[in-house]
Symmetry: C2
Subunit: 444 residues, 2 copies
């Protein structure tokens, strides 16, 4: 494949014409494809339908300690679900609070509580002039949405293949006491799919924050969401690592079963140190009488234990794997060697991250949309929706059926080509305009 | 029955001795009775067990508009559950947001949002020096808990048979702009069981608050929780009344199915004006992707419509009615005419309110506990747990089986008698001490 950058203006124009014809063909197909969010497909949801049968009108809804799960009470979750989610999150059940259906809501509440009541006796953030969060980028738009909502200033930190730029994180966190947190998706990260290396996790656990109320917001959303049976990323468990490093209270770990059982009807949890749990419980006991224990019991009776859950995730992987592989193989086939884009090839999670040439992402997404394909908005992976290079696009392969996905990715690759050519042609024009007068001058 | 106040010291002492013997008998029974919370009984929970069957692995979990309830999305609730809960709350589905399992949590979030972001553009409460709430007393301890948690100053307002003292409410609300809210349980109030009269509701709707961000927190927890088929309290619908009075944004109305389906596994909602809804949605869209739609669908398919729900509540009433009647008949039999207590006889809800002689409530609750009966803590029905007269006790008849309840109420009445006698005897002694020297002086 010839790199586009090496092609002449005329070659690019000729190619542009050919690609435009292909694009028009796509437009004629009246497509309605949606790859905007990391939603499981209907086929994946079908995997959990047996969960609808585990409780029926003859069931005993008493949990192991004798509690009637149908009634009020049990603020932090029933014992057996703490055990299951503890195994899922790789922490002791004693370090867990089980919440409702949304880990995003738990994160929101965690920030909200820090605003109104502070963290473990520190000044409430709403009383401070300035509160900042570090945001590895590209990252998860809904994380950035929470901090933006609370008026927290967000600082971009580059996300590398092995995790955030830890030199920058260490420097900022140790010198600026207005930095109160960092958003992390440490495993199969949203959107790159990369996982933090052992060294990165160790450096996180050994941070020496200037602010005593600095916390790592460790959203381990894809902890067991592998695509392959044997080729899996492994992440050092952060709670234990923080404890070993003498920083037991440094991290809040979040997770949920949203992409294991049902999105919106699963179970979310926080795992953290006893000190942090105590601090959280001071709020929680006023906030609610308890979360949905019937649903907790339903999950335990369906999955039985972590082995059941892992086996369940293999069935998810069987559906997701061909989709991820379709995306990367189409990108390989269509774009490899052209020098107009790069992408990740994750071994798990829900996303593939694509980088266009600088200044092309918005146009690519717009061009896709005009032919009936909705992608995640360009810029969404950055705080305030502002990608400084306008190059990152999140690809979410999970939701569309495989046939649609193939079509979508072919359209996507085509749009990348067209927008890149337009960009290269515009660049050439700028160069000509700049160079031409100089040449005229030389001739004169 | 002879009033205790009219009895001589010797008569009281003799009676005290007899009652002490009865109390010792109770202590010998090794009772473990709990009337502390308004929890439905197991028998009531059994009424909803068919709800476990309405969804199974063959069910189509698509809702009317085609949404797959198993997946992400639908921030404010599925259409059909809004219709059902709208009928339950007597408001249009368009005025509703469906939440998770706990209306308490919705109230907490409402206060929390007002703290961090203010109400419809007003200054966030966390930026104000002083925020106050009016608290009709006796009232619901968990309401007071929320405002206490946020450092909001609570002002007691007497709760009368027809609702809060509206002269006081009107005066305070119209003159003090630091008063931002009032906690109301308008129907079958917690704990008195009284409902607000038409006049009270009309006066609420016509309040002219000094603070533009003043809101009525209208917790209609017992809207359809009648004990009788025909003898029911009726409450004017507050949203419509506020609209008619030109005060459309004045009220947040809360409700849930906690005491209809399953406590902790039901559905909660807020109903309010479009302006308020818009204001709330600005938060909600960052807080969560959506609540549990499978559970919403489960509720709709079980109850079908408001008629199904009302029929269901009749079955609850059949279980609750004998318990309420047992409580009041035992109180009548044991305490009527003695002048040592008064109590309410509600036609719905979950509580009966009992007033002892001043200064006796704590001792009565403690005496019950020593014989194995846990009541709601004395003082719990007042902000900060401080009942200025130490006289109010909340009776929660729903949870214990009828046999236990009868035993518990007999013990309760006995404790009221003993503590009242001790109080009267102590009073007599004080009088003697005060009078005696005077008499000696006169004699001298």
């Amino acid at each position: 494949m010839q790199s586009y950058a090496e092609m002449s203006k005329e070659e690019l124009q000729a190619l542009r014409k050919k690609l435009s014809a292909q694009y028009k063909e796509f437009q004629g197909k009246d497509l309605k494809l949606d790859m905007s969010r990391g939603k499981p497909s209907a086929e994946q949801l079908d995997l959990s339908m047996e969960m609808m049968n585990v409780l029926n009108s003859d069931s005993d809804l008493t949990c192991e300690d004798g509690t009637d799960c149908r009634n009020y009470g049990v603020l932090t979750g029933i014992k057996e679900v703490k055990e299951l989610i503890g195994d899922m999150m790789e922490v002791s059940p004693d370090n867990i609070i089980i919440y409702g259906n949304s880990s995003l809501n738990v994160m929101f509440d965690t920030v909200s509580r820090s605003m109104t009541h502070g963290v473990m006796g520190c000044t409430p953030w709403c009383k401070l002039d300035k509160v900042k969060f570090l945001c590895p980028v590209p990252g998860y738009d809904r994380h950035f949405g929470i901090t933006e909502y609370f008026g927290i200033e967000m600082i971009n930190v580059p996300m590398n293949e092995d995790g955030p730029d830890m030199d920058m994180v260490e420097k900022l966190v140790s010198t600026d006491d207005s930095i109160k947190g960092i958003w992390c998706v440490p495993k199969y990260s949203n959107p790159t799919g990369n996982s933090y290396s052992d060294e990165t996790v160790r450096r996180f656990a050994r941070l020496k924050p200037a602010a005593p109320d600095f916390r790592i917001y460790w959203d381990n959303a894809y902890g067991i969401h592998h695509l392959y049976d044997h080729d899996q990323d492994h992440l050092i468990e952060i709670l234990a690592e923080c404890k070993r490093a003498g920083n037991p209270d440094l991290v809040y770990k979040f997770s949920s079963t949203s992409k294991i059982s049902f999105p919106g009807s699963g179970i979310a949890a926080i795992a953290t140190s006893r000190n942090n749990l105590e601090d959280i419980l001071k709020q929680l006991k006023y906030q609610t009488i308890g979360h949905d224990k019937v649903n907790q019991l339903r999950h335990v009776r369906f999955f039985k234990d972590i082995h059941g859950m892992v086996e369940h995730m293999r069935r998810h992987a069987d559906i997701l794997r061909p989709k991820f592989e379709a995306v990367t193989s189409i990108l390989d086939r269509e774009l490899s060697g052209l020098g107009i884009g790069s992408w990740t090839t994750p071994k798990g999670g829900y996303f593939i991250s694509f980088d266009t040439l600088d200044g092309c992402a918005k146009d690519v997404v717009a061009k896709c949309k005009k032919a009936g394909l909705v992608m995640t908005g360009a810029g969404a992976t950055y705080p305030y929706g502002k990608d400084p290079h306008d190059c990152n696009i999140r690809i979410a392969p999970s939701y569309p059926p495989l046939g649609d996905l193939i079509l979508a990715m072919e359209l996507f690759a085509l749009c990348v080509k067209i927008v890149s050519i337009d960009k290269l042609l515009a660049d050439k024009e700028t160069v000509e305009k700049t160079v031409a007068p100089a040449e005229s001058k030389a001739e004169a």
